[in-house]
């Protein structure tokens, strides 16, 4: 009886430990995955930190523009973070910001030439906003705040998380603006003839209004109130 009860007493503990499979637990504990996930929401450049706003408005009149812009920025932020991390011991701290800017500008040139060669219409639609990744503050921010102090692998994961968070934000804003402004999503007509397109949504004024409402609603519904921002 005594041993029986003891066994019963032990069993719940085992049951608690058992459901967490070793692989997911190891993943959740690994630092690289944590850095990746942090960028998606907690460090989301747009909704949390309010960085990189010009492309967020300028390149989101259509979902596909927002998506392209996001992926291009993700490439630049990952590549420049890895490079900055690799040379972090070689760069004197007085000239680090100009050095980072040159590295970022070089990768932006690569993206710009790539888009112009393979998707010329998209490149034309995005206009000055691809070159403007050079002055996107969150790209420089990741280099300065994270990659200059961490190993390349961790820096890449951090940059990838932030880049994907940025892409998701831009794409969702693009979907909303395209749906209301053209009645379509990714060029596919969803709303029928009865829908009177809101032309304002694809104008600059509508871009400001949409992002303002988006950020306001997210902050209204997110627990813990406002984080970061000016």
């Amino acid at each position: 009886m005594g041993t029986e009860r003891a066994r019963v007493g032990i069993e719940p503990q085992r049951a608690v430990e058992a459901p967490a499979p070793p692989l997911t637990r190891r993943l959740a504990q690994s630092q690289s995955v944590r850095e990746l996930v942090k960028g998606l929401w907690a460090n989301n450049p747009i909704f949390r930190m309010l960085l990189g706003l010009c492309p967020t408005l300028g390149a989101t009149n259509m979902a596909v523009n927002g998506f392209t812009m996001g992926i291009s920025t993700t490439f630049v932020v990952v590549a420049s973070s890895i490079t900055v991390s690799l040379i972090r011991r070689l760069v004197p701290s007085e000239v680090r910001i100009p050095t980072y800017m040159i590295i970022i500008a070089a990768y932006v040139t690569v993206v710009d030439l790539f888009l112009r060669a393979f998707v010329p219409e998209l490149s034309k639609a995005l206009g000055p906003f691809i070159p403007l990744i050079v002055t996107n503050c969150f790209v420089l921010g990741r280099a300065e705040a994270f990659a200059s102090q961490n190993r390349p692998w961790l820096s890449a994961m951090d940059a990838l998380g932030v880049g994907l968070g940025f892409t998701a934000s831009l794409t969702s804003l693009g979907i909303i603006r395209e749906l209301l402004g053209f009645g379509s999503v990714f060029g596919v007509q969803l709303l029928g003839d009865w829908w009177e397109p809101w032309v304002i949504m694809i104008l600059p004024g509508g871009a400001f209004l949409a992002l303002g409402l988006f950020i306001g609603l997210i902050r209204y519904f997110s627990p813990g109130g406002t984080l970061g921002g000016a």
């Binding site: 100009p98 070159p131 403007l132 104008l203 600059p204 303002g212 409402l213 306001g216 902050r219 921002g229």
Partner: protein
Amino acid sequence: MDIFLIIVGAILTNNILLTTFFGLCPFIGVSGEYEAAAGMGMAVIFVLTLTAPINWLIEHLLLEPLGVEYLRFITFIITIAFLVQIVEMFVARFSPALYQALGIYLPLITVNCAIFGTSLFMVFWELGFLESAAFGFGAGVGWALAILAMAAIRERLRFAPIPKGFEGPAITLIIAGLMALGFAGFSGMINIQAFGG
């Protein structure tokens, strides 16, 4: 090609902040206080009036003859960074009063996309040297006008009952949207792009 029309066009019809969103991060960040906004606006006018013609010279006397236009982004950003540094040292040496006013805003300007974006537009629209200088000045004045108007509105908003979650950036963006709609009323008056070529 009237220089005056380019300046007015850059301020009203093609306002870089309200039509192309350049310089939006400092616009949201610094427009909370009127004096800070005035300092930032002055610094932007100052640097833009210098960088646009200097980058024009670099584009047409250096990059084009050598056929290395693909180095444009790198050279422009280096020029801007150096110029901001030189301006900062120059102002600190010769006008301590101005340095007091602009001091902390000058370093921030390197990553203000309004500066870089204006130089890019100057190339895209194939403006001439004087036109570039006029466009740089007008773009700076337009940006300063927008941030001063926003700072004045936000001073008024300080005691307004704003819904939860919409304080700060969200309400600023919504007001900027209304301002952009107002400025859209100027569109069609003057088109700077028509001057190009």
